[in-house]
Amino acid sequence: MNKTISEINEKIRSGNAVVVTAEEMVTVVKKSGAEEAAEKVDVVTTGTFGPMCSSGAFLNLGHPRPKMKMQKVFLNGVEAYAGLAAVDIYIGATQVAEDDPLNREKPGSFTYGGGHLLEDLVRKNKIHLEATAYGTDCYPSKYYEAEITLDDIPEAVMVNPRNAYQNYNCAVNTSEKTVYTYMGILKGNLGNANFCSAGQLSPLLNDPFFRTIGIGTRIFLGGAEGYVTWQGTQHKPGVERNSKGFPLQPGGTLMVTGNLKEMSPEWVKGVSMTGYGPSLMVGIGVPIPVLDEEIAAFCGVSDSELSCPVVDYSNDYPNSTGRVLGSVTYEELKSGTVKISDLEVPTGSLSSYYKALEIADILKKQILKGRFFLGEPQKYLPDGRGSR
C-alpha cells in the first residue's frame, strides 16, 4: 500500500498518524518486516546535532540616521560579510574574531568567533556593533556604533549552505605528533579515531536516495521550523554505495534555511575547535514520510549496516591523496574501540547522538500533536541514479 504526503498530513491533522524515531524504526522493521512497517508507520523522525562549519545567517541591521551603506561590519569583534545592500550582512560560523591570536601559538584556542556570535544572537545577548563606510550622497553616515540584540534587528535568517552530511569520515592520525583538526584533537600513532555522524539517526542515511527529501521539505532547524532550500554544496550522490544503497562516503548534503529569531540556544551552539577555529553546532531533524515499503526498509537501517571510511588527517586528508585506511561501521565506532591496522583504537565523537535522539523525539511529539506537518518537496535533490 502506497501513501502520499498529503494523505499522511491528513492523518496528522486528525491525530491518527503513527510516528516513530529512526531508532525505534530499526526494531519495527526487524520485528514486522518492511512491508508491514510501511503499513503501520507514517512518519520516521531523524536527528543530528554536530559541528556544521558551513552555517551562518543573513542579518538586516536596519539603518542608522542618517542612512549608511555599511562597508565593514564587526559584531563583538567578529567581521561579517557586508558586500550586499546597505545594511544587509552575512555572519559565517567559522569567522575568527579580529584580534584572535589564531594559531600563532599552536594550538590556538579560538575562544570566540562566528559560531559564538550566532549563539549570542539567539540567546538575545547584547552585541556590540561597529560599522564603517566611505559615505555616499544617498548613504552619508561613515561610522556607527551601537549595542544591539536580536530583537532590535529587523530580520535574521539562518542560511546554511552545507549541513546534515549524509555520512562522514572517521578521522585518525598516523603521524607521531598530535594534530588539531575540525574533527577534534587526534593523537599520534592512531591514538584515537573520531567520527561525526548520528549514524542510524542521521537524516540523509534514512533516505539514501532522497526519495522524500527535496526543496520545500519542512525540518527542525535550530529549535525552530526550517526548510530544505537546495542540495547543499559538495552534494555528491554518486559516491560508492553498499549493496543496499547506503553511501560508504560522505555523499549528499542539504542547504537549509530558517528564522534565526525563532531558534533556541540549545540547538545553535558556538564551538571552539582547538587549533582549527570557531564553528557552530546546529540541531537538525528531518521527518521522513513512509510512502512505501522501500522507504520503510531504508528507515529500518541500523548502525551495524552503515559504515564510513577511516581517513588519516595527518597526511592523506590535507594532501588529498585519496587513500583510505579502511572502513568501520557505526556500531563498531559506538562500541568504544575500532580495529584499524590491527590496532584497537579508542573512539571519540563530535556529533552528539544523545542530543540527536532528543531532536528526533521532539519532532515526533510535534507531529503527534498536530503541530508539525510535512512539506511537499517542489523539486527533489539529485540522487546519483540519473533519475533526476
Binding site: 584533537i185 551552539k269 558556538g270 571552539s272 553546532m281 559506538k334 565523537s349
Partner: protein
C-alpha cells in the same frame, strides 16, 4: 558555607594594600594561611584556606580579582558546565582516567569527578568549553 584552598598571587602594586584585612572585615570570611611570601615592593604569594558563607565567599573572590590579585585553586578541581555540555563525546578519548565516558546506547556522556585527576586535558578538547577549572 564554602571552604577552599586557594593560591593568591599579589602583583607588586597590591602588596602594600590591606587586601586580606578587607577580605575578612567586608566579607566576613575566615582564613587559615598555609604559606605566605610577601615582601614589601615585590610580588607576593599566599596559600590559604578560605571559608565563609557561599555568597560572601564569591563576593570576596571577586573583590580579590578586581583588586588585581590572581587566584588559583590549590588542588585544582575540574567541573562540567552542564548547560554547555552537548554530550558530543569529543572528550572521552582525551581523558586519561575514563572520568568521561559514553553511557549506554543513547551515548549520554558522563563525568565522574571521583575519577578526575585534574590533568586539564579535556578543557581544550571540549568544543563548547564545558569543562572548566573551578575555584
Amino acid at each position: 558555607m564554602k571552604t577552599k584552598k586557594i593560591v593568591l598571587h599579589f602583583p607588586r602594586k597590591c602588596v602594600n594594600q590591606p587586601i586580606v584585612y578587607r577580605l575578612i572585615r567586608d566579607f566576613n570570611l575566615r582564613f587559615n594561611i598555609l604559606k605566605a611570601k610577601i615582601l614589601p615592593d615585590e610580588e607576593g604569594l599566599m596559600v590559604m584556606e578560605l571559608s565563609g558563607d557561599e555568597e560572601e565567599f564569591d563576593k570576596g573572590v571577586k573583590y580579590l580579582s578586581d583588586a588585581g590579585v590572581t587566584l588559583e585553586p590549590l588542588s585544582k578541581d575540574i567541573k562540567r558546565d552542564e548547560e554547555k555540555c552537548t554530550h558530543c563525546g569529543a572528550c572521552i578519548v582525551i581523558c586519561p582516567t575514563e572520568a568521561l565516558y559514553a553511557e549506554g546506547s543513547e551515548r549520554k556522556i558522563i563525568f565522574d569527578s571521583d575519577k578526575c585527576i585534574a590533568c586539564e586535558l579535556c578543557i581544550s578538547a571540549c568544543p563548547t568549553r564545558a569543562m572548566v577549572l573551578d575555584f
